[in-house]
Symmetry: C2
Subunit: 454 residues, 2 copies
């Protein structure tokens, strides 16, 4: 324990400089123009793990978004911890809303600002540094495996394919995932549930080509108008999603779990005003806010493509419009079933003048984990040792697509992150608290020690 | 007459090359990055008129979008024709839908393809060439004035300001505007009505900044969703616009005018399939198609800005969304009143979690002209001489913002264009028929001769 604290203190400057180097790589996995950057980030992680003494380090399965696989020194008789994380990041736009450039890491007021700071480079980095901290003399306390992928933000296809072919990769005594966050400062959380995801593009075509709105307005269908009408009926202002069958598989959290949520330090007014930053919250009024963001499905529009969106005015009737949307899914919804339900609902809402299509982009099944096993007790102990408070069982409304596959061979998946609620992941000015990184190094190092019997 | 035909025949190649030069200038007036191109187009027109013998040619009122003003040789005792047109063009995107680049004029199958080919460079050019054709020996048959502006596609502000200061510029015996088209091939039309325009941006803000849709989806308002609900209520799928008071000022065309429309060679099925290119028409079913596009107001969405519209997926809840919209207006609606009505309707539809704003971009009042005057009889005669058919009185659903101001000093405004219905103005693959340009030269030349008493 004291060693870990000393390591984090003494090596502080070097550690931050290393993290800066990783954050400077714009490894945006959803944008093909950044494929070389994803490759660079993979190499950075692989080289780093090699330098820390991993005898086996490989880039697997893809030219552009390889999975980094590494094994620590072989320690017969010791348990094995598999570390999962991702080196890819979300797109950074709108760039003009960033106070400092997204790929020029900047520290202000104890926070480190950069795209990927908290999701997930800063967190994966803390786990790697914990490995370094506990590997004195080249001998860590447990067997370690690293599985660091580059497509978490775009569906993890490469990793899914790999685990389909080589399921033995996830054989371990525990899977540690640091890609989530505390419930509040000083309140470390253990995520017992994650929402799933179904990303889609809904496209409406109503004309062979764009038309002059003066000459044809009043008789020609308008793709944006048709799409707007369709979207307005898919989800109503009361928060209800009108996709037949969507809610059928939703399993409500137990009364006990919901009662536990009531004890959390959750201030609805502060959440609305400071964290969400809205004049009012929206959604299904008959459910609590935490149940709405943790345990109910969503339908969100992310952007609408088509027509004229440049400077000035162009009086065109658009022929084609596309909405980028996602649904978040909850236990026991299944991605494939939801994709079918969405497609059917959209087709049914199409007026006679429109051709509509739904393109399913990628998905992730929701997750619910059992927390009664040893690794959960030990991560709780590790947090107690560092934070003087154990983990609180919460859920996350976010998705980590590969988590179900990580637990497929029976290892308990420990979702214990070091982010804070105001980290703005996926948004401009994403950050991570500098102290959270160093706490993470100590917590994960302590977890490795405890798993190793120390 | 025969001279005009001979001129058009013998000078064919030179004339087309001149038009190509004008069409190559990307004078997009709504995009500030093209301001220098607008200036270039203005210079091209001014230099050309000077070379044709106009003793007075000026660039008026603006650095970037000057009004070209020119006067032909002074002929005491002869009537004066004022020619109005514009050298600016609409934006050309989406570029990928053009079969040849928009600013590289290309002739295919008797059509000349380029942005601005029919709206309005090709037409304004035909009038200028008509002036050349009838100016043998430096002596045209009438006094001519040219008023060629560069902001027709973005509200004509520079010209409006000029005419406010110097209303005597429009003192004439007739104003000739060639910025419209035939009703059908071989059926020249005289536009007796134009719709007006009210262009606006509706912006919805619901969050301080974009949020992660996993962490906040279900409780945080979504700007696109809010905008979609608002737009869906502003106009319903039946074509009705729900802006209180909007229809109050609409003056229905007389029964006689509507009866005249029934005699036009209008094939609704061909219009829908070939011209509009849609599986079905939309709009207010209780009115005829021609009445819907000529004599009823519209509300069109041209594009929606905000959120994520790039490659791939970004699971963000957008904080801000903006719809670019226009309304077309009909007699006796007034732009300013409609702008107020739109703003009030939008504000009223805003939910409590949203800040909405309406930015009025520019506008144009609708036009209805009296056709009983001499210039109308003479343009009819000119078309009879060239096309063997006189003009049919129609309307246009499009707008020419400055027309009301052109008629302010009492000169009849003759809206006689040479476009064809399939010219795709404002859309990809805009074109003008090459023969229409040469017919235009003969018709307008003949009109000048007739106005001069020939």
């Amino acid at each position: 324990m004291n060693d870990l604290h000393a390591f984090a203190q003494q090596q502080r400057e070097r550690i931050l400089n290393e993290l800066f180097a990783l954050l400077k790589i714009p490894s945006i996995s959803t944008d093909p123009t950044h494929d070389p950057d994803c490759r660079r980030a993979a190499n950075w992680v692989a080289d780093h793990l090699k330098a820390l003494g991993c005898p086996r380090v490989e880039l697997l399965a893809s030219e552009s978004h390889p999975v980094v696989w590494a094994e620590g020194p072989n320690l017969p008789g010791k348990p094995t911890v598999l570390v999962y994380g991702h080196y890819d990041v979300q797109p950074a736009d709108p760039l003009e809303l960033w106070d400092s450039p997204p790929f020029e890491p900047t520290v202000r007021d104890g926070n480190l600002y950069a795209r990927g700071a908290t999701d997930d480079k800063g967190q994966v980095f803390a786990v790697i540094k914990a490995f370094e901290a506990v590997s004195g003399g080249g001998r860590p306390p447990v067997n370690l495996r690293f599985l660091i992928e580059g497509q978490e933000e775009s569906g993890s296809k490469v990793l899914f394919d790999l685990l389909e072919r080589e399921p033995e990769r996830v054989e371990a005594d525990a899977v540690l995932v640091s890609d989530t966050g505390y419930f509040a400062p000083g309140w470390p959380a253990l995520e017992v549930g994650l929402r799933g995801l179904c990303a889609a593009e809904i496209t409406v075509r109503v004309l062979k080509g764009d038309l002059h709105s003066g000459l044809y307005g009043g008789a020609a269908p308008n793709a944006h108008e048709t799409l707007v009408q369709l979207l307005a009926r898919l989800k109503t202002p009361d928060g209800k999603i009108h996709i037949p069958g969507l809610y059928d598989a939703v399993r409500r959290p137990s009364a006990a779990e919901r009662a536990g949520w009531k004890k959390l330090p959750f201030n609805q007014r502060a959440f609305q005003r400071d964290e969400v930053g809205a004049k009012a919250l929206t959604g299904l009024r008959q459910y609590s806010t935490l149940e709405r963001i943790w345990a109910l499905p969503t339908f969100e529009i992310h952007g609408i493509v088509g027509g004229f969106t440049g400077e000035g005015t162009k009086t065109v009737i658009p022929a084609v419009a596309t909405a980028k949307v996602t649904l978040r899914l909850v236990p026991n919804q299944e991605t494939k079933a939801v994709a079918r339900q969405l497609t059917a609902a959209v087709k049914k809402l199409a007026p006679k003048w429109a051709d509509v299509s739904v393109k399913i982009m990628h998905g992730a099944d929701p997750v619910l984990v059992d927390t009664s096993t040893t690794p959960f007790k030990l991560i709780d102990q590790a947090f107690r040792d560092v934070e003087r408070r154990g983990v609180v069982p919460t859920r996350s409304g976010g998705s980590i697509p590969v988590v179900p596959a990580l637990g497929k061979r029976g290892a308990p998946v420990v979702l214990a992150g070091i982010g804070l609620p105001d980290d703005r992941l996926h948004a401009p000015n994403e950050k991570i608290g500098v102290e959270q990184v160093f706490k993470g190094i100590r917590v994960f190092g302590r977890f490795f020690q405890l798993m190793g019997g120390a």
